[in-house]
Amino acid sequence: MSIILKLLSKFDDSGIRKAKSGFSGLKGAIGAIGIGVGISQITDLLLDSAKAAAGDAKSTKLLNTQLVRNAGATKAQIKQSDKFVESLSLQTGILDDDLRPTYAKFANVTHNVKEAQKLLTITINAAAGSGRSQTKIAQAVAKAYDGNTKSLQNMFPELKKSKDVLGDFTKEYADMAEINADPFMKFNNSMDILKEKLGAVILPLLSDFVDYISKPGGPIDQMSDFLDSFQDPNSDASKMFTDIKNAVKDAFGHVKDFFALFGNGSAIEGFKNIASTLIKALPALIALKGIMMLASAGSAIANLAKAVGLIQAGNAVSGGGGALTKFTKNGMVNVAVRYAIPLAVTMGALEMIDAGFSDPKERQKLSDAGKNIVAPKLPKNSVNGIFVDKNGYNSSGDFVGLPLTSKQSIDSNIINITVTNADPKAVVDALAKYVKLNGALPSVLTTGKYGR
């Protein structure tokens, strides 16, 4: 227990960073052996292991070739040499890939496996004990083995007075590599060796798999042919993509034509007009669905556009179309462009459209409706398909509108206006004046209350 008065503090996070890197190494090592990891990490581990094993096999092969060529190593010696490198790596925490080149160098110099191993041990001990580069020490040791101790003595001046330079050097740094070994590095190294061993099991399987997929006529070849076929415009795959492209282009063209009919040649204006009318007339969602369905009706849209064009042309000759508005109790306005677009394509069609989103049969019906537009015959004593009595009241007692008389044709362009408690002539005059000034009547008309 003591009291500490801080006068000045310092900021230095190197200690924390070191601790972090140490633990991240541990985390990696734990991940490497598959503790608490998911499937993808395990597959990554297998691939990593296979890679590590492939690298390890390559460097082992290189060393073994050197040992056979330069030191005349037998098969037993090669096996023993592999084990030596592995155990040295485990003891010192130095990667086996870093040990092998030095080992091969000493094999070249000594022409003896045992001597090479001895020199390798001396070198890594000295490197760990002195903090100097392993490669530089290896060069000096190799020279000292051949009798030229100058560079080793220059590097380690304490050896200048020594009579047995290599012997004293060995004694001075004996076991330093093992003593100075970083425990995390040792652990990581052990895990790397485990990984390599795991990889050695995976590698033949992977090799077989690669052989299979890359054999002539195998999956790689087949995929390659398939991709090549896109380059040939006459191939089925290429034709298919061309058809899709054309279909999209045609459909877009027809949709554009259709909307242009409602916007004096401008598709965007037409779309805006239809959308605004539908949104005003119907709950917004149904209107949107209707527009989208009309737009996606494919070739039927082209026919519908033609039909509407013909109808409009007809209307132009006979003086333009008209609109019949119906005010319901809740204030909603239903619009039926009775004389321009048949009821089947307006209110009824929109119901079909609504159903068409979920029912393929209904969708087909809608498509067919566009092909063959026929104006339905409205029943007698009815207004918009609702049966009414001669005074215009439905079965519930609500006023709907006066029914058409037998004299009135449903195809005529006469708007029958009957007004209760008002002067019909004044209303007709007002309407005529409006149409003269503004053209067609607006889709929504405001009025006073209906009375009996």
């Binding site: 227990m1 003591s2 009291i3 500490i4 008065l5 801080k6 006068l7 000045l8 503090s9 310092k10 900021f11 230095d12 996070d13 190197s14 200690g15 924390i16 070191k18 601790a19």
Partner: protein, 187 residues
């Protein structure tokens, strides 16, 4: 007591030593010398006689770890200069003053807490082959009362406070001087 933070202290010291071996020693000596006024102030504030002796405890503890002047002299106050990084904290003390006697530290901190009894009954502890607990005694409260009556508590920080700003500024100047030296030599 907040203290100023110095950056790259370790690097400065390392560079100094690399430029001129022995410079680090000179720097540390200078810093420690600069801290002398505070050290002397603290030393003079530390009671000269054992403040724990009272009517409740008339005999001094001469053997235990918390005995006055046992193992460590009661007025041992040392400056410390540490550049080593911590593995837990990024900000650590570079220059500090350590009052190392446990008895002095005990006397100084006694009564600084709230005085509330955390556990009215102690944890179970082994006793004569079995275990037992006991109620928390009031000995500590009596000790605090006694130390306060003799003005033998909370003396380290008040003594240091007077000279501290000057010492801090002086140490900072020394460090800046050496840092400038390093920069000049490197450039």
């Amino acid at each position: 007591m907040a203290s100023d933070i110095v950056y790259n202290a370790k690097e400065i010291v390392k560079a100094l030593e690399a430029l001129e071996p022995g410079m680090k020693k000179v720097l540390v000596r200078e810093v420690k010398f600069a801290a002398k006024p505070t050290i002397s102030a603290i030393k003079s504030a530390i009671p000269k006689v054992n403040p724990f002796i009272s009517s409740v405890r008339p005999v001094a503890n001469t053997r235990g770890r918390l005995g006055w002047g046992v193992e460590v002299k009661a007025d041992t106050v040392k400056p410390s200069f540490k550049t080593k990084a911590s593995k837990k904290f990024a900000v650590t003390s570079l220059v500090s003053i350590v009052v190392s006697s446990p008895a002095t530290a005990l006397a100084d901190v006694a009564g600084k807490g709230s005085g509330a009894v955390l556990n009215p009954v102690t944890k179970s502890y082994p006793y004569k082959g079995g275990s037992r607990t006991h109620r928390t005694t009031t000995q500590g409260q009596k000790m605090i009362k006694h130390l306060r009556s003799k003005n033998a508590s909370n003396f380290v920080y008040p003594a240091a406070e007077k000279s501290l700003p000057m010492v801090k500024a002086e140490i900072k100047l020394i460090l800046e001087r050496y840092a400038a030296k390093v920069n000049r030599k490197l450039n």
